[in-house]
């Protein structure tokens, strides 16, 4: 199972080991771990009322798994990669908690790095997850960032 949407935490080391286990053609595994950040950018250092105390991730059951699988399939079509693992957590998470994991195994680092970044960039703009932050000032839904669209747009091909 290459894609998981779950409340439970994950063990990045175990996931990376599993991707390469028994496959001596694998020469590289690139991975990414996203964490809940206590947002200190919005109101400067310290953050005060805008400090993120917790975050709840909502998603669209059914579509989420399909969207992630489609992104992984697209990565497999673009790069010569041997294995992919995507885990996205849902529910209530605290600053420092892991949210998302992407790992790609390939023969060489180039494909692994590129496919890993591609999957994250597409996940950010195409997978139906939404974050709601809890702050001292109340709850607020996170706004989508234009930079995420630009990041995903870098991978566009003439066929897109």
């Amino acid at each position: 199972m290459s894609v998981s949407v779950q409340q439970a935490d994950f063990d990045a080391g175990a996931e990376i080991a599993a991707l390469a286990a028994g496959r001596d053609e694998v020469g590289a595994v690139a991975s990414f771990v996203g964490l809940v950040r206590a947002d200190k950018s919005a109101a400067g250092v310290g953050a005060g009322d805008s400090a993120v105390q917790a975050m709840t991730l909502e998603h669209y059951p059914g579509m989420t798994e399909k969207a992630l699988t489609a992104i992984v399939d697209e990565a497999r079509g673009r790069w010569d990669i041997y294995g992919v693992r995507v885990i996205h957590r849902i529910g209530r998470l605290l600053p420092g908690d892991r949210i998302v994991f992407v790992a790609v195994a390939s023969a060489h680092r180039g494909e692994a790095f590129a496919a890993c970044e591609f999957i994250m960039d597409y996940l950010k703009t195409r997978a139906p997850f939404w974050k709601k932050e809890e702050t001292p000032a109340g709850g607020r839904w996170v706004d989508a960032r234009e930079g995420d669209d630009h990041a995903a747009g870098r991978w566009a091909t003439d066929g897109d």
Binding site: G34, L57, E58, H59, Y60, G62, M63, K66, A67, H88, I99, V100, M120, L123, K124, T125, R126, A127, P128, F129, W130, K131, K132, W141, V142, D143, A144, D148
Partner: protein
């Protein structure tokens, strides 16, 4: 046959509901027309018209507001996604 309509995130909260089942009114053939039909109910449904960069999916595939809708479809409306 009805269309099943889903709402997520801030839009779900604004509408006070996450889903409904609706007999597709005559003349409604696109996601955008369905959005306009719902928004015309007045408050709080106008949130469908005022949500910035409203996104939609038909049968769990993200599509534009010009996408076709027919009876039996699952149509979802939501704000831009913010996972990762």
């Amino acid at each position: 046959m009805n269309v099943r309509i889903l709402f997520f995130a801030g839009l779900r909260e604004a509408l006070g509901t996450g889903s409904e089942s609706l007999a597709l009114p005559a003349g409604i053939a696109t996601v955008g027309a369905l959005r306009d039909h719902l928004a015309a109910r007045g408050e709080p449904w106008t949130a469908l018209a005022t949500t910035k960069n409203l996104r939609a999916a038909v049968n769990q595939q993200m599509l534009g507001l010009d996408a076709a809708v027919k009876a039996g479809d699952e149509v979802a409306f939501f704000p831009p996604v913010t996972g990762g």
